[in-house]
């Protein structure tokens, strides 16, 4: 077995045995079920308010199964990313500061293998849990709204998936360049809000991944534009750039007075 396969197996075992997989799965399933329910409740709320205050549905529109997708986007783009940061912000830096990385190094593991196995194992965990949670999401939406698969739903779900993968890569990127777990955590949250702010600027927002979650309604209504495709493309490019920089420039040694 190559070193990379050994490391990948080790990292996946870690994600499973330290219950991270279970936590991610439960959180995603939770959001998958809550999102259609909250969309439905919102619809009911609008209806009740409409009965008392006049016809609000003409103003706000009636809730549809597309609102499930909107809710899911909102929940995963915010709360779930926070959970990913808490789970994985220390993944690379903790191994360096604790010293387990150097056990690997003295056993012939290359920095690149070490980094890639961390990223890939987390991507696998997020992918598997996301797919499982989507089954719950589609079923719940179907039960509540009678419909669950709007036009371009795969495109929409893929955009959301790509958004999460971007953050998995970003979290590891920061972890790989940090000097401590706390620093990694702080930088990750700071960058999350930094990237969120960039989304305000309409001229450049499509070059940053938050735009992926912006266009859910129009995409699900069939409007895939050049800008939405640019968002996908630039997010992939960002991921590649971060991985390459991490592989090339992250340091093996932390030159502080404590050493390791």
């Amino acid at each position: 077995m190559s070193n990379f396969k050994c490391l990948l197996k080790k990292d996946l075992t870690s994600i499973f045995r330290t219950k991270k997989f279970l936590i991610i799965l439960l959180v995603l399933i939770g959001f998958a079920i809550i999102s259609p329910i909250s969309a439905k409740i919102l619809a009911e709320l609008i209806k009740i308010l409409g009965d008392e205050m006049g016809d609000l549905t003409t103003l706000l529109g009636s809730a549809t199964y597309i609102d499930s997708y909107v809710q899911l986007n909102g929940n995963l783009a915010e709360m779930f990313i926070f959970i990913l940061i808490i789970m994985f912000a220390g993944s690379i830096i903790k191994e360096k500061t604790k010293g387990t990385y150097f056990v690997l190094k003295t056993n012939g593991v290359k920095k690149q293998e070490f980094i890639l196995s961390h990223i890939l194992s987390q991507i696998i965990a997020v992918t598997v849990t996301y797919i499982i949670s989507l089954i719950f999401f589609i079923l719940t939406t179907l039960i509540l709204f009678g419909e669950a698969l709007p036009k371009n739903f795969l495109y929409s779900l893929f955009s959301l998936y790509l958004f999460m993968i971007f953050f998995v890569v970003l979290i590891n990127f920061i972890s790989g360049f940090s000097k401590s777990n706390t620093q990694s955590m702080v930088l990750n949250f700071s960058l999350y809000f930094g990237i969120l702010i960039l989304n305000i600027f309409t001229k450049i927002k499509y070059f940053f991944p938050f735009s992926l979650t912006d266009n859910v309604i129009s995409v699900l209504n069939g409007k895939i534009t050049t800008n939405t495709n640019i968002s996908i493309l630039t997010t992939i490019v960002w991921c590649i750039i971060m991985i390459v920089l991490l592989l090339l420039f992250s340091k093996d040694k932390i030159n502080n007075k404590k050493g390791y």
Partner: protein
């Protein structure tokens, strides 16, 4: 003997602060070297630089490119979610080796009955043994142990030093410790380091038995004179007491007892002050303070 590791003028600085000041020493194949020094002396820094965990400021670390070096830090860290056996198998798989050695190594470090326990549930002593097992599983040429017994009880310490004794000859070992009596027992070479400088670097055979002092308290001066006529070595007299310095305590003792018995000289007391490693260590460090 063949040198396996050669350190030349190794220096480490943090800004203006000098942690290691051009230290030089070498390690011979199959030998055990004790790196001794008070806290902050530069022991861990030296070890980490050797295993390339820390950047050096200047100097050379010379070893053959095929030399495998394993390092165990003072508080060993593991993938806690593994069992002992799984962890050792993981380390073997990184070196593309089959798992035949696992049972042998577990036997060597006395962990055969614990092999299926999760590492996170182990006591400090057992973790230390897992650390040593993990360090030697891939048969390193040089094993570097940073304070391997610092947090262990006397029984745990003895077990680890017995283990080092077993490994002696199979690989070269550098370890740091504060338990000097144990160091004396297992080491071939002693390096005392303080404030980044090497104060002493000698073979244990050159230092541990040197300069023992034998003190005899005689009953009267007449007996001292009788004794002096028979004993040919150097003697320092102080009243009714004499002091004899010797490198070879066993033969000197035998000679003295023969003289006292043959000449029927009675004495008040005989005491031997062995110049042990602890005294050498304290003396060298004090000189440097």
């Amino acid at each position: 003997m063949e040198k396996i590791l050669d350190i030349k003028k190794l220096t480490k600085k943090y800004g203006d602060k000098v942690i290691l000041n051009e230290i030089s020493f070498s390690l011979e194949k199959g030998e055990v070297c004790g790196l001794l020094g008070p806290n902050g002396a530069g022991k861990t820094t030296t070890m980490k630089i050797i295993v390339d965990l820390l950047e050096k400021t200047s100097g050379e670390i010379i070893y053959d490119k095929d030399t495998k070096i394993a390092y165990l830090q003072d508080v060993p860290q593991f993938y806690e979610f593994y069992t002992i056996k799984e962890y050792l198998e993981f380390l073997l798989s990184l070196n593309k080796k089959n798992f035949d050695r696992v049972d042998d190594i577990l036997g060597l470090v006395g962990l055969k009955n614990e092999k299926d326990k999760e590492i996170k549930k182990l006591s400090r002593g057992l973790r230390q043994r897992v650390g040593i097992a993990a360090s030697i599983i891939n048969e390193p040429d040089i094993l570097i142990l940073d304070e391997p017994v610092s947090a262990l009880d006397p029984i745990g310490r003895k077990e680890i030093f017995d283990l080092i004794q077993k490994l002696k000859g199979k690989m070269s070992i550098i370890f740091s410790s504060h338990i000097l009596s144990d160091v004396e027992r297992v080491c071939d070479q002693i390096i005392i380091i303080n404030k980044g400088n090497i104060l002493l670097n000698k073979k244990i055979s050159e230092i541990a038995l040197n300069n023992n002092i034998l003190t005899i308290d005689f009953i009267n001066e007449e007996d001292i004179n009788k004794f002096k006529k028979q004993y040919k070595g150097d003697i320092t007299t102080n009243g009714n007491t004499i002091e004899i310095k010797t490198d070879d305590i066993n033969n000197t003792e035998l000679e003295i007892f023969n003289i006292l018995a043959n000449k029927k000289i009675n004495v008040n007391s005989i005491s031997i002050k062995k110049n042990n490693l602890e005294e050498i260590f304290v003396s060298e460090v004090n000189k440097n303070e």
